[in-house]
């Protein structure tokens, strides 16, 4: 069952999509866009008991890796409201956790799975033992100390657009490229993501990530370490002092020299995971940033310690 956008908005997005430029063929981007994770949503038992519904069945849903939990909330809540009589939930109060850890709604779902599922299990879950991913749904007691409050769809869109602007700033030193886009072009990005329309999204996103063929100043890359370490985001030039393109290893070495030595002396201590895979570290960082970014234009690298 694909995500169903709000019925009222569909005609508007459909009409504007006809004028959008066709996305250039890119198998990597396509396969990343099509990636999905099966998720089993279970109602928090304590909350279900409080409203008198003891045995509420779990809700299974296959979520696109590039999507956000905020975009699923409507479907999830509807399911539980249908199942449990006399219960009315509120979209704004819904939050999710995995094994007791609240999930940040402003991260893409695929990134969350990579961090909380695969990173935590040391990369051993690649065989799919964690699937379907078991998420607990809460309708009360929003953990305002751990999550950003008001995760409504509008806030999610604002956050998404600010990530794109940040990435643009890193690449060009200004957000002029994004700010000069027309309102409908900006909306097209978000609508494409929301309605899971690849052509619509990439038709616009292509201009941003390729940067019109100009070598970017810095690459928008974030590095996530396990054990709740702060996220690493440093200015990373795409080329070295000899004007040669940097590889992923070189970049990781720059930030984490202990984990990623330039020359492997033994078996690798850590690997970097993107979209649930571990590409070769010799891959060009620039190419990776252009082809393997999330829709928010960032290359999110999840470090897995062996």
């Amino acid at each position: 069952m694909p995500p169903q956008p709000d019925k009222g908005k569909t005609p508007a997005t459909a009409s504007s999509s006809t004028s959008a430029t066709q996305a250039p063929y890119n198998p990597i981007a396509r396969v990343i866009w099509d990636g999905s994770i099966p998720i089993q949503f279970s109602w928090d038992k304590a909350e279900a008991a409080a409203v008198g519904s003891n045995a509420v069945e779990s809700f299974f849903y296959e979520a696109p890796r590039c999507s956000y939990f905020s975009l699923l909330t409507t479907h999830v809540r509807k399911h539980f409201v249908d199942m449990a009589l006399h219960f009315i939930g509120d979209d704004a109060e819904v939050w999710y956790d995995y094994e007791g850890i609240p999930l940040k709604w402003h991260y893409p779902i695929g990134l969350l799975y990579d961090i909380h599922g695969l990173q935590a299990s040391g990369g051993n879950a690649t065989k799919g033992s964690l699937l379907p991913w078991k998420i607990t749904v809460h309708f009360q007691n929003f953990p305002a100390d751990k999550l950003i409050k008001s995760q409504a769809i509008d806030s999610c869109q604002d956050y998404f657009m600010s990530m794109i602007k940040e990435a643009d700033y890193l690449r060009n030193g200004s957000t002029k490229k994004v700010m000069n886009m027309s309102k409908s072009d900006q909306t097209q990005l978000w609508d494409g993501l929301w309605s899971n329309n690849y052509d619509r999204f990439w038709g616009m996103n292509h201009k941003l990530v390729m940067n019109d063929g100009v070598m970017p100043r810095n690459l928008p890359i974030r590095i996530y370490l396990p054990e709740n370490c702060p996220v690493i985001q440093e200015p990373i030039s795409p080329v070295d002092e000899n004007n040669q393109p940097k590889s992923l290893r070189r970049i990781l070495y720059q930030s984490l020299p202990d984990l990623f030595p330039l020359v492997e002396t033994g078996p690798p201590v850590a690997t970097a995971m993107i979209h649930g895979i571990t590409p070769s570290l010799e891959t060009s960082a620039l190419w990776a940033a252009q082809n393997m970014s999330y829709p928010d234009n960032f290359l999110h690298l999840v470090i897995i310690i062996k």
Binding site: M1, I28, D34, P38, F60, L131, G276, P279
Partner: protein
């Protein structure tokens, strides 16, 4: 770059391979999830259906219960008592229904009546509004009428007061007149006695003279018998010089004292004007006469033939008086347009327009040498105009509207005027002073004044239907002329003396011409050939012309002339 491209492809291939592995794991559940969702949908549908079925089952059960209860009730009612009661109740219901139907009918009727009454009420309201409007209007007009009535009452009161005052004055004047009449009669008696005594004395004197003459005759005869005859003394001359009419009294009008026979035979009748005729006057020589009319024209007619000789135009309003000069070459017309005009008869062209009056000019006369004109007007003035200079040389304020003026002496120094206020006034035109105001002679306004041919008497005509002959020197009334059936027709009706002064002629309102003798003041003759009011008569030689208001002019003569004799 080729190497880079190759490596890119290499990376791509490797990455795609990894993605394939990843998807193999991660999309393993896709079918299951889809099936699950379908099941969930079905479940939802069934739950919904179940809910619906439960609801319908519930309602069915309720219906069943209801039916069962009804069955119980029906069973109970099945008993005979209940059946009977039921029948009664049904009968009652039927009667109630009838009653209700009746009531509905009544209600229907009432509703209809209500509608009718509403209509009537509306009509009444409309009528009421109209009536109110009518009442308002009538009240208003009533107020106005009451106000007018009040005003009229005031006016009537005022007039009554005025009438009272006038009547008082009239009474006083009549008393005064009575006394004066008495005094006059005394004087006449005294005069008659004196005359008788004088005649007696004359007779005695004559007897004495005759006796003396006889004595002288006898002496002469005795002497003749003794001596030759001598011339007789002119005694008869002295006798004649003592007669009542002195031959030294010159007639300034230059008319011979021909003994007039009364022209009482209508010789011609002429329809003169298009409009009412106001005045008529014969020329001094008596060959033509002129008429003035409301049609603003003056027409000159031949006396013998009755033919129209000329028409003089120029007046802007009705002509009230026409007058010839002594030599018959000028004609004077007085008009209601406040002016008097002068025409030359030989040419028929206007010579002067005498403007200056601010009221209708009722009368205008030449002086004997035609050097001046005297005019009298309703603006209460008499003006004297110098024809050489062509302007007014004197204005006399008369205090009353002037109906007629005339000259009393040869040089035109003394003027008589007859007025609207019943009085006759005599003026000295040299000083402009009023010489005499003769009051109490008439009870109506004086319509004409006319001097006798010898200038010693003056004739007045008045709206009190009497004429008077006054002595110019003493202003005493010589005789009062009146007759049964004589009525003065207009405010400007002119009467006149006969050329020898023995008769007075005037026309009445019924068209009759009256001739009075001046000696005894009695009616000598009447003649009638007209029906309208006579506005004027004029007598020259043995012809009288009379004009009636109703356009006709009649020429009267002493011998009959048939209309067939007219030469056309």
């Amino acid at each position: 770059m080729t190497m880079a491209h190759q490596s890119t492809q290499q990376w791509e291939a490797e990455i795609l391979g990894q993605f394939a592995i990843r998807d193999k794991h991660e999309k393993a559940f896709t079918n299951m999830v889809e099936s699950y969702n379908e099941l969930v949908q079905k479940l939802t549908f069934f739950v919904e259906q179940n809910k619906h079925l439960e609801t319908s089952a519930q309602s069915s059960k309720e219906q069943h219960d209801k039916m069962a209860r009804q069955v119980t009730v029906l069973r109970e009612q099945g008993s005979p008592i209940n059946q009977k009661r039921c029948a009664e109740l049904e009968a009652q219901v039927a009667s109630l229904k009838d009653e209700r139907a009746e009531l509905y009918k009544t209600q229907g009727t009432n509703a209809q009546r209500l509608v009718d009454l509403n209509d009537i009420l509306r009509n009444k309201d409309t009528t009421l509004t109209q009536n109110k409007e009518e009442i308002r209007r009538l009240t208003e007009s009533n107020h106005i009428l009451a106000h007018k009535n009040q005003e009229l009452l005031d006016l009537v009161n005022e007039k009554n007061v005025t009438i009272q005052v006038i009547q008082d004055e009239l009474t006083t004047l009549q008393l005064e007149m009575g006394k004066l009449d008495e005094r006059q009669r005394d004087l006449e008696r005294e005069n008659a006695q004196l005359l008788q005594r004088w005649l007696k004395m004359k007779n005695e004197e004559a007897d004495r003279m005759n006796a003396q003459n006889m004595f002288v005759e006898n002496e002469k005869q005795e002497a003749a018998s003794l001596s030759p005859p001598v011339q007789s003394p002119p005694s008869t001359r002295s006798l004649r010089s003592m007669g009542p009419d002195s031959p030294t009294q010159s007639n300034w009008r230059g008319q011979s004292s021909i003994f007039s026979s009364i022209p009482q035979i209508s010789s011609r009748k002429i329809t003169s004007h298009d409009s009412e005729v106001n005045t008529i006057s014969m020329s001094t020589s008596g060959s033509v006469f002129a008429t003035g009319s409301n049609d603003k024209k003056i027409k000159i007619w031949d006396v013998k033939t009755g033919a129209l000789k000329s028409t003089l135009t120029g007046c802007l309003q009705a002509v009230m008086c026409v007058s010839f000069n002594a030599t018959d070459d000028l004609l004077l017309g007085a008009s209601n347009d406040n002016a008097a005009r002068l025409w030359h008869l030989g040419t028929g062209r206007p010579r002067h327009t005498l403007t200056g009056h601010i009221g209708k000019v009722f009368s205008a006369r030449f002086n004997p040498d035609s050097s001046k004109v005297v005019s009298g007007s309703h603006d209460r003035t008499i003006k004297v105009w110098d024809l050489q200079k062509g302007y007014c040389i004197r204005t006399m304020f008369t205090f009353a509207s002037v109906n007629d003026v005339c000259l009393l002496d040869f040089d035109g120094a003394t003027i008589a005027s007859g007025h609207l206020d019943n009085n006759l006034r005599v003026w000295d035109s040299r000083s402009g002073n009023c010489v005499k105001e003769v009051t109490g002679i008439h009870l109506g306004q004086i319509t004409s004044v006319c001097p006798s041919s010898d200038g010693t008497q003056i004739l007045t005509n008045s709206r009190d239907n009497t004429l008077r002959i006054l002595d110019v020197r003493t202003y005493e009334t010589l005789s009062v002329l009146h007759a049964d059936g004589y009525k003065t027709g207009t405010n400007w009706s002119k009467a006149c003396f006969s050329p020898d002064g023995q008769y007075v002629v005037s026309g009445s309102a019924d068209g009759t011409i009256f001739y009075w003798s001046t000696r005894d003041g009695l009616v000598e003759k009447t003649a009638k050939d007209q029906t309208g009011p006579i506005v004027g008569v004029s007598w020259v030689n043995s012809t009288v012309v009379s004009a009636e208001k109703d356009k006709t002019v009649v020429i009267w003569g002493t011998t009959a002339r048939r209309p067939t004799v007219y030469e056309k």
